[in-house]
Symmetry: D2
Subunit: 350 residues, 4 copies
Amino acid sequence: MEKIKIGIIGAGRIGRIHAENLGRLHEAEVLAISDPFADDSLRKWALELGIGLVTTRSEEVLDHPAIDAVLICSPTDTHVPLIKQAAAAGKHIFCEKPVSLSIEQTAEALEAVRSANVTLQVGFNRRFDRNFRRARELVLSGEVGQPHLVKITSRDPAPPSPEYIRSSGGIFMDMTIHDFDMARYLTGSEAVEVHAFGSVLVDPVFAQYDDVDTVIVTIRFENGALGVIDNSRQAVYGYDQRIEVFGSGGSVAVANDYPNTAEVHTASGVKRDKPLHFFLERYTEAYIEELKQFVSALGGSIPVPVDGRDGYQAELMALAARHSLKLNRPVRLDEARQLRKLATTHEGGM
Amino acid sequence: MEKIKIGIIGAGRIGRIHAENLGRLHEAEVLAISDPFADDSLRKWALELGIGLVTTRSEEVLDHPAIDAVLICSPTDTHVPLIKQAAAAGKHIFCEKPVSLSIEQTAEALEAVRSANVTLQVGFNRRFDRNFRRARELVLSGEVGQPHLVKITSRDPAPPSPEYIRSSGGIFMDMTIHDFDMARYLTGSEAVEVHAFGSVLVDPVFAQYDDVDTVIVTIRFENGALGVIDNSRQAVYGYDQRIEVFGSGGSVAVANDYPNTAEVHTASGVKRDKPLHFFLERYTEAYIEELKQFVSALGGSIPVPVDGRDGYQAELMALAARHSLKLNRPVRLDEARQLRKLATTHEGGM
Amino acid sequence: MEKIKIGIIGAGRIGRIHAENLGRLHEAEVLAISDPFADDSLRKWALELGIGLVTTRSEEVLDHPAIDAVLICSPTDTHVPLIKQAAAAGKHIFCEKPVSLSIEQTAEALEAVRSANVTLQVGFNRRFDRNFRRARELVLSGEVGQPHLVKITSRDPAPPSPEYIRSSGGIFMDMTIHDFDMARYLTGSEAVEVHAFGSVLVDPVFAQYDDVDTVIVTIRFENGALGVIDNSRQAVYGYDQRIEVFGSGGSVAVANDYPNTAEVHTASGVKRDKPLHFFLERYTEAYIEELKQFVSALGGSIPVPVDGRDGYQAELMALAARHSLKLNRPVRLDEARQLRKLATTHEGGM
Amino acid sequence: MEKIKIGIIGAGRIGRIHAENLGRLHEAEVLAISDPFADDSLRKWALELGIGLVTTRSEEVLDHPAIDAVLICSPTDTHVPLIKQAAAAGKHIFCEKPVSLSIEQTAEALEAVRSANVTLQVGFNRRFDRNFRRARELVLSGEVGQPHLVKITSRDPAPPSPEYIRSSGGIFMDMTIHDFDMARYLTGSEAVEVHAFGSVLVDPVFAQYDDVDTVIVTIRFENGALGVIDNSRQAVYGYDQRIEVFGSGGSVAVANDYPNTAEVHTASGVKRDKPLHFFLERYTEAYIEELKQFVSALGGSIPVPVDGRDGYQAELMALAARHSLKLNRPVRLDEARQLRKLATTHEGGM
């Protein structure tokens, strides 16, 4: 079989991880990587991985005649133009989440993808986590009956830098967006309305950027099922990622992963080590599986596992949540886009 | 020490359990029990327990000169008049939850208790569960730092009868009220605003009585902490009662109790028995502890563990949740009473 | 139904617990209790429980014409004479473990019981623990197939006093005997050979009394299944009582009971409270169930759940283990009695 | 840094896994692989991994001037001659367990290694498992005090083929040997005496080869601590690998790894997926870590983590266990070698 030739745009942490993971797949090959800050260290790393071309210009990747597909791992505000260029160049696309901070621009990007008839996968890596996948399988197989409630906990070990916060698009677009996608994935149903409560409890810097650090978002789904997501920017015990789906036939719950199974009993109690501390540890395998499936989808053996519409819907939920927080009332997804227009003065804020 | 003399009004399931539990306390003695449907079977049961007086008339209990305190275990709509009579007779009072379905009447009952200077304890039994008490201790001792999030799951094994549903006051007043109290107990903080989503997913009979069977209620507390409660009238795997308090220093979570610790590994998977099936099994010890503390409070050795204001606040939260569901918007507790007046046409509904 | 009338011999800790537990059974009634050290405190306690006769002389209990059955809760060296007297008086008998420290005397006691045609139940309380019972049910129902391995952990929270150690009959007769019975109970099979390794690691006082404090005993059963018991006189984290049965179809394992289900996550790890600390807490319900079944067996509704032969076989296993430790070789049960004769110089030691 | 150049002898399952794992290390490089059955499929696999030389002759690897170290992954009966040749050629050596089925030959191999002053690491991969390593760390850091008891469970998901059984050296040398090493690793102490009970319960074919399939081995350590190992050739629920170290300060226990954390509650109970099914899944990371440390040891940054003496001692324990089973008595390690000589007629059996 011919290997799928891949180019990567953006050589930050996640771009490099994808490159290394692709290096282990027999079906794919990374030909090029671009980054405006490409330096000798990057060149050395690329050399070891056998990546032939390292450049500061994304165009060199996008125009590379041998390349079949590109991974867009650059900052969020570059996603939409890059998607349009890649689509125009006939390249298939894997794009990190979110597609953009603007639902209208995301819609334009999806339209470009559609016109060019290329494949787009959005980087919701958690769908590929063995725990969440097993939960999804159990829901699909009817083990818990008709879903009534879905509960998602997602807490980061520590808040990001102020710079990151400023351009993050706010907690809903940056962090909860994964959970919005998870809610849709687990229930197989669309949200119709969203309500959010939020607070600044971790660090006042969030208030400075019109953002919050602690939220509870509730969701009403088409079929009457209800959902809830709780987020915190700081769980001192590490990365906390759990879900539960409760239905007419029972429930399935997924716990965190721990670094080991050792349990200690002493005179002062029972203890074990805290959960895996960060997303790179928790989702090591998920990142590998994510690209495996992207490559398989390009090869035609499976449908694309997370498509543009998945990206769009999660963003729409994030947008509705943001409006809900601002307006202090539940917001329907079908009104979220309209409200968006009224709210443009908040541009750049959460 | 002189034993505290107790009379019980209402000889249903919970009245009898309380009588049997009091029978094991050295500090208390049940002198009388009343029930409009008192019959030979009740008399036989009372005889075995050494309860001297069995009557169909609550007045005989309330006016009994030797009785120090009464337990009000009769239907909810009798609570307020009975509290007023008991207070007027100078009896201390233990009253099952809720005090009433009307926040104004509850306020009147509390006023009567205050005027008469008697003690009132409200029957929020879950506060006495060893698991929840341990969680509360850990929060109080600062183990999890400042609370940021409180999560409460409370699901019944099976829905009640249509007759019960009709006069229950609706899911928030009948079922969630325990969780509202638990939220205040765990955080030690007051709610300021409540939002509810609800659905009828278990049985259409709930819709018939203007009620729902599946809810997610979110709470905003005075100090910015957030809370969420999820309820279902039917968890096929049994009684599901769990909580989590997450804070600046970590989290404490309480799991269900199971009938045994046996775990089976076979070729088809790992299994164990489902959780304790009903509240009487789960809270056996809690009911004993609840009355022990009532008796201790009457003896003056501890403050009353759940007082009238606790009863009132939980009802106010239930009222706010009901308005939220009807109005499809968050409702502040300080407006809930006013809204109540506008909403009197719903009287008798949820 | 006529209540079964019971007398208790020995008013130590366990005698009183049995009396209190019998007080809650409708089918039984305690008429008398004897103890050589009976005093006013005991009389006061008996009065509250409604026990009519308190005496220093066991004869008064044994000769009491109204008494149907006696509970022998006095020191081990009085068991055999008391069993003989009770049998001669036609009383049914519940005797705490072990029946005696001498397999020959135990045999005599059983013969007396047989001749008098009375019922004898031996106090192996752990068979009535909900966890172990569930394991036994699962084995019986074939969930784990044919048993191949049985593993029993049994560790005390703290060593007994030197006085207790001196007259305990040694660790195998005092402590492991429960586990020998558990091994037979769980597998439903008889041991044919036993091997023991032992050490003094907790306290040198054990060596002083020719005893050990840490043992691993292995067992070969009739059907080829193998077993292992590990004991320590001191687990600093509390009472440790677990089992596992592994077979051709899988395994069933029973964990300890904990005082609550609260689990705390902090920056330094995950913790929960240690197991229930002592046998009275762990086996509260088991002691109640044990006497319930004794009373039921006397009433004829069930066979006696732990009979004299059960007591004898566990003692024989303890004897074989003791010989094994002394001889440093495996010892067959059918040779243990013979070896006993050769070993009489060790009388009084372990 | 100069990469360490490695040759692999034996291209079976484990040889290939090691080659692939080495491929991910920056500090090492596989130059050659030999296997008597080397074919096109092996050549294709080697090509993809960039291994330059594929040969049917081990000499080509051993004599390769550029190679620093060899991995011996060929059948057990070839280990000793290959170790001698490798040592003579001045190559460092990683050898799969056991070094040999003959304690005398193993001693000769170790002598050759010593004379040549090369490094030898023996393939006890379980020491590199994150769970067991964490247990070891906790013991070393004094968390459980002085070790008193060590318990090891090790059960395979399914018995090997009759051919494998025939040449396996018996269960103690083939399977329990890992546990003997684990017992030494966890306690940091040497065994002085061993006792074994064994049965044929899984498959009569084991009896045919003078072997057993179910064993319980107990161990007495130098410092008085005691140990027990239970093995079965068939746990229908998958690979079962657990340990517990109990000491004066508490205990540490290590549970199995499971494929995911999903737990399902339904009306019929609570279930989750069974443990990881086979050693390649359970020890994926351990195999990587094992070679990482071998390479680090060759680089001089850490001492060799499992040396020849570790291999020898585990074999000696296996030998003592085998004698114990045959003689039906405990066997001291210092007599095991002598007994070996008397027992040569059993050569080829267990």
